[in-house]
């Protein structure tokens, strides 16, 4: 078996058990319900800010967008204003499409080599990674937003509307939230891709499987609490409201499964800034996407530009003067 995914899988499993037994067996409610969540949020905020400031402190010496369409040049040639923007409005549009719709990933193709028959390469549109990624990110977003009902009292009407829309299929009791199911399925799809596609398996690291297993664990424990094992929802809200108002209390009657769920979420928060999940912040700072392609029209300044040794015309002419004169090339100095 491949230890690149066995280690993360075991880790997530152990983490779950630690919290579950820690609460059920050792009675460490305070630790897993109050102490660790606070610590995790703190680590997340501090780590996120540290990371983003770190990137921002690095210079952007050159304006080097990747251009994915026609440049702005002659007035009668139609520019691709989004994929090759020359204004900040265009850049904004490009970034919005990139961040919210994963525009670059949408282009994805799959190459195939038809060996022996025709020996040709062919390319087909590969939409599934884009679909899977979009489903994963948006369902996760909705799930996170829905959870704000645990941190607000009264619950704002926009959250209620979101819940209403999320449960619009009106299936089962308690009503099925589409987002939760999609989140679990999308994560499983992304995992299957890593395991089954030989190329992706080869490039995958333990650091790619760990967040996937973690999120699967979070989603599975969450779904299980809502639909199967049931939990004391009033008790949980007491705990979460206590956390958010900085007057934490541990309610009676909330079981170990909830604490395990909360612990996995805490781990995700703490791990976030230390991991590839920071692409959430990084995408905003990617110079190949967030810059306008107008370097020839507007000068870009490099903060660390320094003088270099060049070979001047004078040195050149000194070197070649005789040959230049003989060839009838103009020279600055005849001697």
């Amino acid at each position: 078996m491949n230890q690149k995914y066995l280690i993360p899988l075991t880790t997530v499993f152990l983490l779950f058990l630690v919290a579950y037994t820690g609460v059920e067996g050792a009675g460490l409610h305070q630790v897993f319900g109050i102490f660790i969540p606070y610590l995790a949020v703190l680590a997340f905020l501090a780590g996120f800010v540290y990371k983003v400031l770190g990137w921002a402190s690095s210079a952007v010496p050159f304006r080097i967008p990747t251009t994915c369409g026609q440049q702005k040049s002659l007035p009668w040639i139609k520019q691709n204003c989004i994929d090759n923007p020359d204004t900040s409005t265009g850049v904004l549009l490009r970034m919005v499409l990139e961040i919210f719709l994963f525009r670059s990933l949408f282009r994805n193709t799959k190459a195939a080599f038809n060996k022996n028959e025709s020996n040709t390469l062919s390319y087909s549109w590969e939409i599934f990674l884009w679909l899977g990624a979009l489903a994963f990110h948006y369902s996760f977003l909705v799930v996170i937003l829905r959870h704000f009902r645990f941190f607000t009292s009264p619950v704002p009407s926009c959250l209620k509307f979101l819940e209403y829309m999320d449960g619009i299929v009106q299936l089962g009791l308690p009503g099925l939230f589409i987002s939760g199911a999609v989140l679990l399925l999308a994560t499983l799809f992304l995992l299957a891709r890593r395991v089954l596609d030989a190329k992706v398996t080869y490039i995958s690291q333990a650091a790619d499987y760990f967040p996937l297993f973690l999120i699967i664990g979070i989603a599975a424990s969450g779904l299980s609490m809502r639909y199967f094992t049931k939990v004391d929802i009033v008790g949980i809200k007491t705990l979460t409201m206590g956390l958010v108002t900085f007057s934490p209390i541990i309610p009676e009657g909330v079981g170990g499964l909830f604490y395990a769920h909360l612990f996995l979420v805490s781990i995700l928060f703490a791990y976030f800034p230390a991991s590839k999940l920071m692409h959430l912040g990084g995408i905003f700072l990617s110079p190949t996407r967030n810059m306008a392609n107008n370097t020839r029209a507007k000068r870009h300044v490099n903060p660390w530009n320094y003088d270099v040794k060049t070979h001047t015309y004078e040195e050149y002419e000194d070197h070649f003067r005789e040959k230049m004169i003989e060839a009838g090339l103009p020279v600055d100095k005849e001697e």
Binding site: N2, I7, T10, K51, G54, S58, A59, P61, I64, T66, T67, C68, G69, Q70, Q71, S73, I77, K78, D83, S104, R107, N108, T109, K110, A111, F113, K115, T120, A133, A198, K199, V200, Y202, Q205, A207, D208, A274, K276, M278, H279, I283, S286, P287, T288, T295, R296, A297, R299, H300, W304, V308, T310, H311, Y313, E317, F320, K323, M324, G328, L329
Partner: protein, 551 residues
């Protein structure tokens, strides 16, 4: 052709399913293989540029004669570059290894070597970055199981050799960057890796020697001023015998309207030489008809910039000649010939490095009145922008039928496509000078264009297997239109392409010839007072223009 491996053998090797196992563990097994790498730089060339660690060395030998503190040099170099380049720092941190880039690289498609997947090429460096620079990875390594999570490995000699092998199997074409959801640009990472090699004296000769020539003599090929002039005069004779018109160019003329700079490959190597003749014909036409005064320079006789493949600093040193010469001659603005990486340097770097060009005027075409607003600061215009403008305003008298034999497709060069967006200008010019134009399949052109497989200084002779493998995706698309539409001409706007695609065609698609866009222009353009042409610039007879029998 010196390549020993036959096309069929090369095709048989391709397999996109990588071996199992952890690539990090296989580092020691990296075999630097003849046909896949370029020879080490001659000590002399490295010395001319006063770059570090000039010495004879051989990549195939165990001992690379590195400085004793080579690990320290790498560490410091990475540290400095992480501070200087946000691209580098962000791209080290945010890759999620989604694999969208995996099958976008021509070297992966041509070799099936998993370490040619852009993501993995970058991971070669990232794994060391995580070991040496990531606080998170250092913390993780301290907790149980965390070491596996960190994905880090220390810098060893075999890692360095692996870097060297694979970062000289990247042509900095940026195709992967088009598909990356975060815009991660492997070219940036390769550029950093090559800067590090440069600090250790691990240059390749095909880059270092042209750079040293360019620094000293003004161009990559080391053509001395009188020889440069001779070569252009030789073209002038050819054109005169063909058209009866003398197109003698001007050199270093002070006070000319425009300074023209093109890659020296156009002056030296077929079929670029025919493109060069196209420029001469165009400038003669504009001089006679409209009095436009264009000058060439033997000092700034290189548009290309192999410094770009060495380090940012070397790029700047070579590029400085363009503005220096424009200022010395007192021209109004600069016109640039057909070249790929030259234009990436001009478009995205030149003004920042060596500007501001406040001694030049905002480029204005005096014939059409068009002001090139898109070049208002850099003051350098691409020749296809210039020619497209002339054609649009009806300023050129063109006879398309002289290109009737040419069934043309257009290869977008990586740099103008993905570092500039110069896509429709050359197409407009082509379609106005010949009637038969067909596009290659959409996944292989414009921003998705495939590299010639030999860019970024890899167009040497000794790495031919690598080059032909890397050229496979381009050749495959070309073969498709060759079979379907009878395409016999591959148009390009890149001097390296003109050389490398010619080799590619001989190997993969033997019936196709490589043309520069301005060669087609030169054929079609009717010079005032010219005699009836019966042959094109290659001195091949043109259908419909046969010599009448009058014996």
């Amino acid at each position: 052709m010196s390549n020993e491996i036959k096309p069929d053998e090369l095709l048989n090797k391709i397999d996109y399913a990588p071996a199992s196992g952890n690539w990090m563990d296989t580092t020691g097994s990296v075999q630097i293989r003849p046909g896949m790498y370029c020879y080490a730089a001659k000590a002399e060339s490295v010395q001319t540029l006063s770059l570090p660690n000039a010495r004879p060395w051989n990549p195939l030998e165990e001992d690379w004669k590195l400085p004793d503190n080579w690990q320290e040099i790498i560490f410091q170099a990475m540290k400095e570059r992480l501070e200087r380049f946000r691209t580098f720092k962000v791209f080290m941190d945010i890759c999620v290894r989604c694999g969208a880039c995996a099958d976008k690289c021509h070297f992966f498609l041509g070799t099936g070597d998993p370490k040619n997947m852009p993501v993995l090429r970058a991971e070669l460096l990232r794994s060391v970055y995580r070991n040496d620079f990531s606080t998170a990875a250092k913390i993780l390594s301290k907790i149980p199981g965390g070491k596996a999570l960190a994905g880090a490995r220390p810098m060893t000699l075999s890692v360095l050799k692996e870097w060297w092998y694979y970062f000289f199997q990247c042509t900095e074409c940026r195709r992967c960057s088009v598909f990356c959801p975060y815009g991660i640009d492997t070219a940036e990472i390769t550029i950093m890796a090559r800067e590090i090699f440069n600090l250790l004296g691990l240059n390749i000769d095909w880059i270092a020697t042209p750079v040293s020539n360019c620094f000293k003599t003004g161009n990559h090929l080391g053509i001395q001023p009188h020889a440069f002039k001779d070569m252009l005069e030789f073209f002038v004779e050819d054109i005169e015998s063909l058209t009866g018109v003398n197109c003698t160019p001007q050199f270093q003329k002070k006070g000319a309207d425009i300074l023209f700079i093109t890659p020296s490959g156009d002056v030296f190597a077929d079929p670029g030489t025919y493109t060069c003749q196209g420029y001469l014909i165009l400038f003669k036409y504009l001089k006679d008809k409209y009095g436009l005064d264009v000058t060439w320079s033997t000092y700034a006789s290189e548009g290309g910039n192999f410094g770009f493949f060495t380090s940012h600093e070397t790029m700047k040193r070579l590029n400085a000649k363009m503005y220096a010469e424009a200022r010395r001659l007192g021209v109004k603005w600069i016109l640039g010939g057909e070249c790929g990486h030259m234009w990436r340097v001009i478009h995205q770097y030149m003004d920042t490095m060596n500007g501001p060009a406040d001694f030049l005027e905002i480029p204005k075409n005096p014939i059409t009145g068009t002001v090139f607003e898109n070049a208002a600061s850099t003051k350098m215009v691409h020749i296809t922008e210039f020619t497209a403008d002339l054609i649009k305003h009806g300023k050129l008298e063109l006879d398309k039928s002289r290109n009737a034999d040419r069934i043309v497709t257009f290869h977008d060069s990586c740099n103008p496509a993905r570092g500039m967006g110069l896509l429709d200008e050359p197409r407009y010019v082509i379609q106005n000078v010949c009637d038969n134009f067909y596009e290659m399949p959409p996944n292989t052109i414009r921003e998705q264009t495939f590299c010639c497989g030999s860019g970024s200084g890899l167009n040497a002779g000794e790495n031919m297997e690598l080059r032909m493998a890397g050229a496979l995706p381009r050749a495959n698309a070309l073969k498709y239109v060759h079979k379907k539409f009878g395409v016999n001409t591959l148009g390009t706007i890149c001097a390296i392409d003109r050389a490398t695609l010619t080799t590619m065609c001989e190997y993969w698609v033997p019936d196709v010839q490589v043309y520069g866009v301005h060669e087609l222009v030169g054929n079609a353009l009717i010079l005032p007072g010219e005699k009836k042409r019966t042959e094109n610039l290659r001195l091949e007879p043109m259908t419909g223009f046969e010599e009448e029998d009058d014996e």
